[in-house]
Amino acid sequence: MRTDHHSAYLSPILEKYGENASNLMQILREAQECHGYLHPDAIDFLCEKLGLPRTKIVGVASFYSFFYLEPRGQYRILFSDNITDRMMGSELLLARMCKTLWLEKGKLSEDALVSVDTTSCTGMCDQGPALLVNNFAITHLTEARVDSICALVREQVPLEEWPSELFEVKDNIRRSDILLLEEDFSLRAALRQGPEAILSELKLSNLRGRGGAGFATALKWEACRNAAGSERYVICNADEGEPGTFKDRVLLTLHAKKVFEGMILCGFVIGSKKGMLYLRGEYRYLLGHLEKTLQDMRQAHLLGNAILGDFDFDIEIHMGAGAYICGEESALIESLEGKRGTPRNRPPFPVTNGYLDRPTVVNNVETFCAATLVAAHGGKWYSEIGTQKSSGTKILSVSGDCERPGIYEYPFGVTVREVLQDCRAISPQAVQVSGPSGVMVAQAEFDRKIAFEDIPTAGAFMVFGKERDMFEVARNFVHFFAHESCGFCTPCRVGTALLRNLMDKLHNGHGSAYDFEEIRKLNGILQSMSHCGLGHSACNPVLDSIAKFRPAYEKRMLHHEFTPAFDLDQALQAARQMTGRDDRAAHLAKGEQ
């Protein structure tokens, strides 16, 4: 029986996850790690064991970029396609790999051995170009490295036997402040203050969320603590999907214990027994390290039963599977519950109706780290760092045109210019702060401050030198949003695709002022009608680049009037081929009029 083969590897996985349907994501991930893709017979088996309809499992699997319902080869290679990867030559390297391996991008090789495609930013922007092979990261790509990867693939060397040097990921810490410097933290001492005291210190600290929205952390914890219900959850958002952001990766590498301690603090304050860290699929290589840290903490009695008095708390790690939208907290919760990552209707918010509809705190990795600092040194101490409205420090992940890309921790209030100097930016004309959904900062604004009251940021700081074409930057970001739109709501699903097509039309030299107007109108609809933050901010890079780099658009409005939506002459190509004609009448002039 063919199902026997599948049941052999699926049964232990199901057992590990308690045959619990809310663990569907983890079950699918491990199943795929065993078999390379999700075989229809495997799905049969899972349907039966988990008591789920096929529509549900296929619906979930097809939502995430890293789940495959069809064979994708023994080696599944995905090139990171952020603008910073492109700036470092990723496109040529991808073409080189395809050529060497004799395959077409996006398609399985004829011998069914390997596939090569692109994926959204993998969070290695300071050491790109980067790729993932079976979701494990390889950075610093060069022609030589690409060639050696091709050789390993051709010789069918099992991934575990690939030279470990290939999988090295650097931390690149360039500037440390209170958070990165902090060494010793006594969780138990902090807990002894009691939940009320921790909460009031947190209030004093004015700590605000580091994941982007900047909500006051104390208020969130307090609201959850006061919400009705017996069970509560702590969720750490380590989805870090915003292109150009990689500071959570480094925090999880160097300060995982502190992140978990922050979660424990939160659990203690809100009265929760269970924490979950949602780790983006791109950081699969960190899973072992994080599991080990948890194990060590259990051994040190920092996790488990009776950590302090009758306070029990433990943490699980859940992996995502390639979906930027799962960084949005309610989509993240859906994903944790084993569903498609569709953002929920809000209100109600997670603090009252979160995981399994119960009160839940969702915070960013850095926020939890910062909370431990507050617990250790007091709220007043913390509030005096940074600016009045933005207390504490912020970790920036710097990439792009600079000599020293990497991690920079600054007190809030640092100017863009200072950061540019420190990272030795190379004739910068713009910085994309906080990723595609953030702000495009032009030269004239370099004295603006990184702070909630001026330029808020989740951490990304991508530098663009004067040679860069800011239209192309915006176009890359628009492609990102169209690719990552969850598809739930009409304006974002269709609007981002229309916007992508219009930006491509301009890129291809067929644009007119009319298209430009269309772009502006679409931006308005995305902003006002979308269901969640992804749709709301999908137009930001376009609006900003129009406002600040208008000539980059003017240059592309080659035509004064309306131009066709598609390439007319190209539309005759199929017929020319079939008829063998190439006379004048077999062609159509481009944009006439």
Binding site: F562, L568, A574, A575, R576, R581
Partner: protein, 179 residues
């Protein structure tokens, strides 16, 4: 009436249904010709399109000739109107769009039920088909759209009289239909 509006019409990838519906305005035609003069249209014998005030186009874009005619209309007509479902979204002809053109030509000319003698016609006199059928507004700027398959005579009449009176033609719910 001295200042008659010059009107031209054409059928591209359509079925002439819209023109037939136009004729269905019946006796109102007499009223209409008091105000308009027809230039190139299937209703007259005029072959060359002159400068016009109004161009009415039925049918979508299926081949290169359709595109050339449409462009000519756009150049010569002050106001250009997409008339009918086919002009507006490709209509019935556009239902070939999911099928690759090569498959279609193969099936028709080379397949078992083929009608030509194992040859895809390649006479330069024949316009080449586009790989997909497109609505007019994807190729030129269209000023007004008159939906329906075909738009009813009343809809056409209302549209024209409003336009002639210098008003923005708006079809009420009774006249607005896509089928």
């Amino acid at each position: 009436m001295d200042n008659k509006l010059k009107v031209a019409t054409a059928t591209l990838a359509g079925c002439f249904g819209c023109h037939m519906s136009f004729l269905d305005i019946d006796e109102r035609f007499f009223e209409l010709v008091k105000h308009v003069e027809f230039d190139r249209t299937p209703l007259t014998d005029i072959k060359v399109l002159g400068e016009c005030d109004l161009g009415l186009i039925e049918g979508g874009l299926c081949n290169s000739e359709n595109v050339e005619v449409l462009r000519q209309f756009r150049r010569q007509c002050r106001i250009l109107v997409s008339v009918g479902a086919c002009a507006i979204n490709g209509g019935l002809p556009a239902q070939r769009n999911p099928i690759p053109l090569s498959v279609i030509l193969d099936e028709i000319y080379l397949g078992e039920a083929g009608i030509a003698h194992g040859l895809i016609p390649n006479d330069p006199e024949l316009p080449l088909p586009l790989d997909k059928v497109h609505p007019l507004h994807e190729v030129v700027k269209i000023d007004y759209f008159l939906p329906g398959c075909p738009p009813s005579a009343d809809a056409i009449w209302t549209f024209l009289t409003e336009l002639l009176a210098g008003r923005e033609p708006v079809l009420g719910t009774e006249l607005l239909h896509y089928d």
